[in-house]
Symmetry: C2
Subunit: 222 residues, 2 copies
């Protein structure tokens, strides 16, 4: 095999991964899987796709090496192949945010208006959690919280936030997080908390990035 053929073959293989990332629904599925293992049916429901369509997209992701499966009874559970997939997703999103004008505009008009403050770095949050100086709020759905979360985080889905304010330590700053760097839930939570007179900020990125950095995690995920 000549080195040119080698290079072509190799880069075509790399392109398989790129192709898998070239569909919005598949990227959404990857973000949901970054919260923890899920079955096809569950993924279809949360992503708003039919089971058949979900299954086909997952097959694509699997062939590209981005997810792995295990079977239990009738159900097939999918999960990310490793934390490096989280890093890849983050690199993709970072490039898109910096260089794709439509992304910048979407983020500015939908997210930044809700919270324009700098997010709290993970290392800083970890230190403050250990000193009990902050309340951590996880606004994801309960099953995602159960799969794994920042130690000591309180899980309150957005719809219940106003009714459960007293569960969040009085007089403490609240740091909210969600599924990733562009998750509306955390932005919305921070806006609502501030409207109630609370001091609130977002955690930098989301739970998957906390996990990928090797920081301590609570929950059934390991």
């Amino acid at each position: 095999m000549s080195s040119t053929n080698f290079k072509h073959d190799l880069f075509n293989q790399f392109a398989r991964v790129g192709k898998a990332l070239g569909n919005g629904n598949r990227l959404e599925l990857l973000e949901y899987l970054a919260q923890g293992e899920r079955s096809v049916d569950e993924l279809g429901k949360v992503a708003g796709l039919t089971t058949a369509n979900t299954s086909q997209h997952l097959q694509q992701l699997r062939q590209a090496g981005l997810v792995t499966t295990r079977k239990h009874g009738l159900k097939v559970y999918y999960r990310l192949s490793g934390n490096d997939v989280i890093a890849l997703l983050d690199a993709l999103r970072a490039v898109a945010q910096r260089h794709v004008a439509d992304v910048e505009r979407l983020v500015n008009t939908y997210l930044t208006v809700k919270d324009s403050l700098e997010p709290v770095p993970r290392a800083e949050l970890l230190a403050r959690v250990r000193e009990g100086l902050v309340t951590v709020l996880d606004v994801r759905p309960p099953e995602e919280y159960a799969a794994g979360h920042v130690p000591g985080a309180v899980n309150i889905p957005l719809a219940e936030l106003e009714q459960r304010l007293e569960e969040l330590g009085q007089g403490q700053e609240i740091v909210a997080y969600c599924r990733g760097p562009h998750c509306v839930l955390a932005y919305e939570a921070v806006a609502r908390l501030r409207a109630q007179g609370r001091e609130a900020r977002r955690l930098e990125d989301g739970y998957p990035e906390w996990l990928a950095e090797g920081l301590p995690v609570e929950g059934s995920r390991e």
Copy 2:
């Protein structure tokens, strides 16, 4: 706009970048551009594509925000939009190498047989260069070397390596590098140097990663 629509729109925009990465020829073009700015014609020649085809692929990359252009006379020069694109390419290749069996096999059967030693970390090479304890060999084509290279690196294209051995400091270890983590040229150079009784290793990854890490660089690139 509902948050579901926002999410779909946003992830579809992210997918634009993914799509751009979903073609082997485009990934090769990105790797060549990571060495420095090039014109369409030059890129077509080095990638083995027609100018028209090259131009179309570059348009795709440009619409995805991965490259930018400037025009000088008849020529249009393309360059990467930023170092974060290098990081994205590396994340993609890393995931593919770890999770795509065909990549693993290609790398093992074509690269690892030429050099199975651990590459030299960039920080270590930088320290040893400053102490004059090592010879750095850049095996890329001269125009890529001229666009930017590791300080003090000697540029010898592979075809001239055996004839120009005496240009490489006697009794010193040689650290060779090339275009990126899977560049055949550095692997081949190390194998040939060892066959000549020289002590030789590869630099971890390649020049673009050196640059992206903010380490000192020589050449017309800035």
